[in-house]
Amino acid sequence: MATVAGALKQTRLGISGRVGGWIFYGVPLVAFLVLILPRLFLNPGFFLQILVFGVTDGAVLALIALGYTMVYGIIELINFAHGDIFTLGGFIGVLIFSLIGIVPGKDLNLGFLTLFVVIGVMAVTMAINGGINVLIERVAYRPLRHQPRLAPLITAVGMSFILEGLMFIWKGPNFIQSPDLLPGGHFTVLAANVDYRSIVLIAAALVLVVLLTLFIERTKLGKAMRATAQDRDAAQLMGIDINRTISATFFIGAALAAAGGILYGFYLHNFRFDTGFITGLFAFTAAVLGGIGNIRGAALGALLIGLIRAFNDGYGRSEWSDVLIFAILVYVLVFRPTGLLGMQVPEK
């Protein structure tokens, strides 16, 4: 075993230099050039269409992955309840839409006003969902902050089941319908029909990610978050309110997940109490793939997962999608244990 481990270590070392970098990126690149690219020339329209689907799915996934990566980055907790926070956001969104008379199947035809209604509802939902997540952190994670790492991990699993159970009691076992306020219609490029809805969705996710990045890099609270992530004790010595900073992280993560939930509902129309469990696992995978704790990494990882699934469903057989996604995850982690863009976690 020792020799195997040694050999593996050597391989890693060998592959981490400049030549290693070439090999690391070269193998997937060759696979892409051989397997995928020829299809582009065979039928560019179809290729483009699949590309758009992949990016759209990746964009929604990214909004969830960001919450995982932020929380892990700051307190090294894999927040298993985050996937369910995403579902909860969608549920709350549907509730608020129905309160103002927007229910699935009924076209209110608000015209230009739709944009403001969506942004308004989204803001309210994000605030409520963020508040709930802050509460969860206060109740289930904060008291355990100085306990062994396993304790908050298990309470996170517990919170996940509690949330799923509550949503099950609230809405029952069936899929619930979400209204769809994305614009209809499409434009045609290279014989591919690109839906406006996909474009709007990708744009919305992009705007949120850019806003988040600006917030973390440019604001005082963002600076506090980075400082807390880097070294909690030092940050505290510098007068940063750690509790407030961590609460803010949970708030933002859940707010993004809520936006993701609403957009997911618009795009795919249905979810139920356990939708977030699986979706959350994939979002977590995306975060690890990109480099946990790394905002851009999470977005990149989510995009990759969306693309792999879309291309495999479009060109291959769907049951291979998970095999491919996780094979790539193993490949990346074996040779780049810190993920594609590198981890950003507290220093010990």
Binding site: L268, H269, R309, D313, Y315, S318, E319, S321
Partner: protein, 439 residues
């Protein structure tokens, strides 16, 4: 005149047998007036909770069969209900307890039930040990009677010898008057080809035994009859949420329709919903009984719900000519519309066949109270029983010779109207050359 005189006794016998046939076929309904006591038959169904809307009408169907039979060879038939619902849902363990209770009742010679195939799995072994005859009006799971799908439409039903395991060394005691799921895919394939005139389809499934099975059988039949399955076959798992890549690929390959094996719970109707924008709303979509008459499915499919076709491994009695008199009689006996379902009429045949077998067993036992094994043997030899479903015989596995698959079509996007989904055709795989009938 003398000749007529000579013919008279024959005519009387003929008329009597006609009357007997009208009485659900129980041969010799009231030939004996002596009171020999009671014979019990059970009805094992979910009689409370959500499934009671199916279980209760079945109970009434059997009661109607007993009422039509009247006194059988001097014995009074008493129908005894058993409820297998626990907290409102059918429960295999409760079903097993019910069968044990039935075995303990020495006057009980057989029962009609259960409703659900997974309940049948726990009940068959107990009933088989006691030679207790079971006739199900609703189980369509392939593996309860057969080791694999019909060899004409082969696919791996994943039975693993279940039918044999359930019966151990006992002779078969389990019969059913509905056919099995393995004909659902082929029926829809024939419907697509013959009625909708579609030559190219895209096929997907939820990759589970039932869903993949009916999708495989659909594919086999569709290809065998000259159709083309185009695009990538999509056996998705529970992690898949976006079906648009698959649908676009199918559309790109020229698909004129989509068939998906699975249930509402495994997202089949979401595949339909996502066809919006890729296919026209008029593009047909086919599935099995996992999505039939289901408001939940209609809700998920939304505006795309119309033109969804779904099959069911049972007959729609309204479209079986021989069922008319039974339906009329039943409705007179139970005028409440909630009591009338397709299964209530099917149940009159299940009950009728059981009573018929009891009557035959009484004869075989010299007019005395028959043994359970006698009833079982008589049921197994059921041949051309004339009832609501037409002419029913059982094969060696206990399966019916009437192998009718009915096809329904959603034509409204209103989930509340899902139960009124119109019947659009049926196919009887018990015939030599099965074809789709649309009227």
């Amino acid at each position: 005149m003398t000749r007529l005189k000579g013919l008279r006794p024959v005519a009387v016998v003929f008329a009597a047998s006609l009357a007997a046939a009208a009485c659900g076929g129980s041969s010799g309904g009231s030939s004996s007036t002596a009171d020999k006591g009671e014979i019990h038959i059970g009805v094992e169904m979910p009689l409370s909770g959500t499934e009671s809307t199916q279980g209760q009408p079945i109970l009434k169907g059997v009661q109607y069969a007993a009422q039509r039979a009247g006194k059988v060879k001097g014995f009074t038939i008493k129908v005894i209900p058993f409820d297998d619902a626990v907290n409102g849902v059918h429960d295999p363990q409760k079903g097993a307890q019910n069968v044990q209770a039935m075995v303990g009742d020495t006057k009980l010679l057989g029962f009609v039930g259960p409703l659900n195939s997974n309940v049948a799995k726990t009940e068959i072994p107990i009933a088989a040990d006691a030679n207790l005859t079971m006739i199900s009006p609703a189980n369509t799971g392939v593996c309860l009677t057969k080791d694999n799908a019909d060899s004409r439409f082969p696919y791996d039903a994943g039975c693993g010898g279940l039918a044999k395991q359930l019966r151990k060394s006992n002779p078969n005691n389990y019969f059913r008057v509905v056919t099995t799921d393995d004909y659902q895919g082929p029926a829809m394939a024939d419907y697509f080809l013959q009625v909708l005139k579609i030559q190219k389809v895209g096929v997907a499934s939820d990759n589970q035994t039932y869903g993949k099975g009916i999708a495989d059988a659909f594919t086999a039949e569709f290809k065998a009859k000259g159709g083309q399955v185009v695009g990538p076959r999509n056996d998705y798992d529970q992690n898949t949420t976006d079906f648009k890549p698959f649908l676009t690929a199918a559309k790109n390959a020229g698909a004129q329709g989509i068939y998906v094996g699975g249930t509402t719970g495994t997202k089949v109707c979401q595949v339909r919903a996502q066809m919006n924008g890729i296919f026209d709303a008029t593009t047909p979509f086919g599935g099995g009984d996992g999505i039939v008459q289901d408001g939940e499915c209609v809700g998920q499919a939304g505006a795309m719900a119309p033109n969804v076709f779904a099959s069911i491994a049972a007959v729609d009695p309204v479209h079986v000519p021989s069922a008319k008199s039974v339906i009329d009689g039943y409705k007179k006996a139970y005028p409440d519309p909630a009591d009338y379902t397709a299964y209530s009429i099917v149940a009159t045949d299940a009950g009728g066949i059981l009573i018929n077998a009891i009557s035959k067993a009484i004869d075989d036992n010299g007019g005395n109270m028959p043994k359970r094994d006698g009833v079982r043997k008589a049921a197994a030899s059921t041949k051309n029983y004339q009832g609501a479903l037409g002419s029913t015989s059982f094969d060696a596995n206990g399966d019916t010779s009437v192998k009718i698959i009915s096809i329904y079509k959603y034509d409204s996007a209103d989930p509340k109207k899902a139960n009124d989904e119109p019947w659009v055709g049926q196919e009887n795989f018990g015939e030599d050359k099965p074809t789709v009938k649309t009227s």
